[in-house]
Symmetry: C2
């Protein structure tokens, strides 16, 4: 009898319609584009632009937004180090399911700790985890950095909590001559990568 | 500033490519088919058959199997009443995401408690939660009922833990003259329902 995690008597079952069949139907390959970067660096903007560009090419993608998921799947988690790890683990597990379903899953989370991102990478087989780091000056439209610097928000990434940059990410989006690329240009960089790596066709 | 669950400063953001656009791309409507029933009643078999039949019609569906998810997303949960509720809540939240992505999401879980299933139903807007109850004699190919009756497995649904049947489910799959329908016949019942309710076209 199998013992799995905290469970006994739990067996794995596989459907005859698998990932390959779904990828064939969609004419694309499932993967996870994991967008990481500081608050205000443009993660959601990039996710939206990639989503839109892929749609215009007839490709099915879906955004898992770290903030939005805190209204649903992760609403019982706080911002302690332990809960942040669990937050990212759950998003990683769900992203894996979406990639298995054949979708291009765009996960958009600050995900400040390297070990948490690497744990998600380890969940995905066959290099289907594409880490895209936004390395641009963070904006502060919501005034959060101001509040964090004043000590009114605690544990804010980049102020009193660290951001650990990826060591070897697939995509790095940078400013040029101090200017942040447009959303379309950023999305173009990601979609070109997906095209070149063969994700946009079966 | 918004306060959400245990989080502050968390804002909801919406992509310009939404559910309608994805449904148009897939030519189907996203929904959740929630298969509930005793262990050994044929939930996985039914899920596989529905998945296969939908695929043969060019429709994209994805199975969330309660047992399989305990290897991943829910591997940190046990079988206490509290953890069973959290297990089902998470599956409900993920099923909701898949329906939002435009897929026909087939969730297959014993889900013995009515309040837990109803909580998942309440997550889905516009009646996109389709409860399919398997009301057939449970088989015991893994010998689990035998072990449970002997007291060697505790908290086993139908033996020393209750199964609360749905009061108003959309689909009920029953035996006829003591004979269980074939997997194809069971799947046909579910797929016909989806067809009639307009889920198989946009």
């Amino acid at each position: 009898m199998a013992t799995v995690g905290n469970s006994t008597n739990i067996f794995w079952q596989e459907s005859p319609i698998g990932r390959l069949e779904r990828q064939k139907l969609l004419n694309q390959k499932g993967c996870v584009v994991w967008i990481t970067g500081l608050s205000g660096s443009g993660k959601s903007t990039l996710a939206f632009s990639v989503n839109k560009e892929l749609y215009s090419r007839g490709k099915l993608s879906y955004i898992l937004d770290g903030d939005n998921l805190r209204h649903g799947l992760n609403k019982n988690l706080c911002f302690s180090a332990e809960d942040r790890t669990e937050n990212i683990r759950r998003v990683g597990e769900v992203a894996k399911l979406f990639a298995d379903a054949g979708l291009i899953c765009i996960a958009s989370l600050i995900s400040p700790y390297r070990k948490d991102r690497d744990a998600c990478r380890a969940m995905l087989p066959d290099s289907n985890f594409i880490e895209a780091r936004l390395l641009v000056d963070a904006r502060d439209p919501k005034g959060l950095y101001k509040l964090a610097r004043a000590g009114k928000i605690k544990g804010f990434t980049g102020i009193d909590d660290p951001y650990e940059p990826p060591l070897n990410c697939e995509i790095e989006i940078k400013q040029k001559d101090g200017v942040c690329p447009t959303p379309n240009a950023m999305a173009g960089q990601v979609v070109s990568y997906l095209e070149e790596e063969g994700y946009l066709h079966f």
